[in-house]
Symmetry: C2
Subunit: 108 residues, 2 copies
């Protein structure tokens, strides 16, 4: 569950600009501010089921965006390469840094 | 005009996964394969005006995606930083490379 939450948090971060204000609001309350479905339901005067459905649909939507654009997966690849680069810098391994720059250039 | 074409080509590259097959097809023919509106119109048996409208709408759509997600603008920033890094590698300027790695890590 924690792993799923982390993933959804990242996906939300990458794709929130493509969501409606309502979708963004429910996702923020549920995932970032840790409100329960019941609490969101009360504060918006909307049924718990409607909140639940909206959040599930939004999750499916940002997973579909990720399947198409892969922003999160590319972010993770870049992150790994940059960490590898920091290690290569510590080791003063200039050849390895050059290789990593080439891989990063190809990634977009 | 050339500048606009280059920009649209890049935006198309970044956002084509979000377009319909028809939108993708018209954009590919017009921008990548350099067919005229008249030629696309003939080959699809659709009016020239309909092709024109579809392409203009698609351009507006990928510009709107860019405004929200900024994939092209981030790509250009990363490209500049990686070129700066190659220069720093040539100069064996390890401190500068470290700074550039930090900037790249913050960019996503």
């Amino acid at each position: 569950m924690l792993e799923k939450t982390t993933r959804i948090n990242f996906l939300f971060d990458f794709y929130q600009a493509l969501l409606t204000p309502k979708q963004r609001n429910y996702m923020e309350m549920y995932y970032l501010e840790d409100y329960s479905l019941g609490e969101i339901s009360e504060s918006h005067n909307v049924s718990r089921q409607a909140i639940y459905d909206n959040i599930r649909r939004t999750e499916a939507m940002i997973e579909a965006y990720e399947e198409k654009l892969q922003l999160y997966s590319k972010f993770l690849k870049r992150k790994t390469l940059l960490e590898e680069m920091e290690q290569a810098l510590t080791n003063q391994d200039v050849e390895h840094i050059k290789q990593l720059v080439d891989v990063l250039k190809e990634l977009d």
